[in-house]
């Protein structure tokens, strides 16, 4: 095994020239060895146990144990069941699945083959956001190659196991990434979330048992199966197993995405990999895992970026892609931008979200334009509570409140200055 395969199993084999790793290259990196081992030597339960022991947690944002999620499926009774890949990646600030989809599409396909076998699904669907046109092309090529090579289709590797994989390209709207809305969309309806329970594992696509997993989550599975759970755990420097694709965007010297040990600190990612802040800019805060996570502040750089540690620090790992707020960007303006996104993307099904988010956007707009009143801050805080966890039909609205609630706390003085001076101090 080469050095990079040892420390960066998901991205180490991706060509540096921006092209996709083809089937031959993927084979050379050990590709499809995990699928062969899983289908020929392992039982579905055995695969699931290995994935559970590996400590793989969902990379779509919620961090649920992948092995345990698979375990919620009812016993196989011969009926149809589905594996669905969540490739919607529309959380603002998030660009990690794109790296995997464009750079190494076969890795996702192998992860799907093993995972579908583990849950005994004979059909798998990749739900891809419509804007990912390059990823769609490369996946289509890889799917054709994998089908020709006998890794997808009928009687895989001569084991008698059949798996059909289908690519579904969507047409916009953030809510499609919420797993139950995604399933509703796949049935040709407006992408409105569903009540849980029933969870997709018992009643998902077309009412059949269904597992929805994120792209990055599934890309980990071949490596766990090939090298074992102990090896996978040893990759990480925290309690959760494996590596994580971290990203940084904003006013840093080298924005980008890097596969690093799970639990790498914010400081190391920001300073060593992203090269620190651009000259003339100071760090004020950051959203550690996409738009719907709570702000961390400049004195929290030693927080380890794993699920437990970020939660202890008052936020969420989310997608692991950080958005940097610098001192020359107005925090109120940034929150206005974020809440505009959430208000626009609300599916409109439940009242607090449909009506509350536009209210919040208008209040923030007024404050940003110098028309805020002192009592607006309490009104905003009240909305953070009214749209919080458990008060709306899905997690979009509570997610929207995470940057707002934390932003009101950390940047209160900036809000007050807008109101007192009747203008945005960052505008000329």
């Amino acid at each position: 095994m080469t050095d990079t395969a040892d420390t960066r199993p998901l991205t180490g084999a991706i060509p540096s020239d921006g092209s996709a790793l083809g089937l031959a290259g993927y084979h050379r990196s050990g590709g499809y060895e995990g699928a062969a081992k899983a289908l020929r030597e392992m039982t579905p339960d055995g695969i699931r146990d290995e994935v559970t022991k590996a400590g793989l947690r969902g990379r779509g944002g919620a961090g649920f144990s992948t092995g345990r999620k698979w375990g919620f499926l009812p016993r196989q009774d011969g009926g149809q069941r589905y594996l669905v890949v969540n490739g919607d990646e529309m959380e603002p600030g998030t660009f990690k699945d794109r790296v995997l989809l464009e750079g190494n599409p076969h890795q996702l396909i192998e992860g799907m083959v093993i995972s579908a076998f583990a849950i005994q699904a004979s059909q798998a669907i990749i739900f891809l956001r419509g804007e990912y046109t390059l990823a769609a092309q490369r996946l289509a090529v890889a799917l054709a190659e994998a089908t020709d090579a006998g890794f997808v289709g009928g009687n895989l590797l001569g084991t008698g196991y059949d798996l059909e994989i289908q690519l579904h390209s969507s047409a916009g709207r953030y809510i499609c990434g919420e797993e139950t809305a995604l399933l509703t969309s796949l049935e040709g309806k407006r992408a409105i979330p569903r009540a849980k329970p029933p969870f997709p594992q018992t009643s998902g696509l077309w009412g059949c048992p269904t597992v929805v997993n994120n792209v990055e989550t599934l890309c980990n599975v071949p490596h766990i199966v090939r090298n074992g759970s102990a090896w996978y755990r040893s990759l990480s420097c925290g309690e959760d197993g494996g590596t994580k694709i971290y990203g940084v965007s904003g006013r840093v010297k080298r924005p980008g995405a890097w596969e690093l040990p799970m639990g790498t600190t914010v400081r190391e990612i920001l300073e060593e990999h992203a090269g620190g802040m651009q000259d003339g800019y100071r760090l004020r805060g950051l959203l550690p895992g996409g738009a719907s996570t709570e702000f961390l502040t400049a004195d929290q750089l030693d927080v380890a970026m794993d699920f437990g540690s970020v939660e202890k620090a008052g936020s969420r790992l989310g997608t692991g892609t950080m958005i940097i707020l610098d001192d020359r960007t107005c925090p109120v303006g940034m929150l206005l931008n974020l809440e505009h996104f959430f208000a626009q993307e609300s599916c409109g099904w439940c009242t607090p979200c449909r009506d509350g988010l536009p209210w919040i956007e208008r209040m923030l707009e007024a404050i940003e334009n110098g028309e805020g009143r002192p009592e607006d801050l309490d009104l905003l805080a009240m909305h953070v509570d009214l749209l919080g966890p458990g008060k709306t039909f899905c997690a979009l609205a509570p997610g929207a409140m995470e940057p707002l609630g934390s932003g009101l706390k950390h940047f209160r003085a900036d809000f007050e200055r807008h109101i007192a001076e009747g203008r945005c101090p960052w505008r000329q």
Partner: protein, 155 residues
């Protein structure tokens, strides 16, 4: 304009992948839109009939998705990312430049039918903000001056 035989064949092929034909709704609309630019009422009804859906039910799907156009658009659609990382990195200037240069506001189409200008949410390329798409192509690290060059590739 009625659907072509080839469009009908492709829609039927998509529909075959789903337990119910309606599962192919979004892909069928996108297919028609690729050649017709937008979805007219006639197209909508024709696609609905192929998928065993009522036109109203398909209309519900069509109007839900921002990348399905129910009104005519220009030969090229420009989608400018206005989400958070691009905002921090100056997408407001990019949008402003385009509006002045094309002489249209958001949602507008140039009189020569060449461009329609629309905002879009995060394009998943935030490390190269600001970003935009023209038709199926992503353009990253966009600057106002570089934009004029890019537009030339879309006659």
């Amino acid at each position: 304009m009625a659907l072509t035989t080839q469009q009908i064949a492709e829609i039927n092929r998509f529909a075959g992948h789903y337990r119910q034909k309606s599962g192919a709704a979004v892909e069928a609309l996108k297919l028609v839109q690729r050649s017709n630019r937008w979805i007219s009422n006639v197209d909508l009804a024709a696609v609905a009939a192929l998928l065993n859906m009522s036109p109203d039910s398909l209309e519900g799907v069509a109007t839900f998705h921002n990348l399905i156009f129910r009104r005519p658009v220009g030969r090229h659609v420009i989608l400018v990312c206005d989400s958070v990382s691009c905002w921090i990195m100056g997408c407001t200037n990019v949008g402003g430049h385009l509006r002045r240069r094309l002489g249209v506001d958001w949602g507008g189409t140039t009189p020569d039918d060449r461009f329609t200008l629309l905002p879009i949410v995060c394009l998943g390329a935030c490390d190269h903000a600001p970003t935009l798409m023209i038709d199926a192509d992503l353009h990253a690290d966009v600057t106002a001056s570089g934009l004029d060059r890019i537009l030339e590739d879309y006659p």
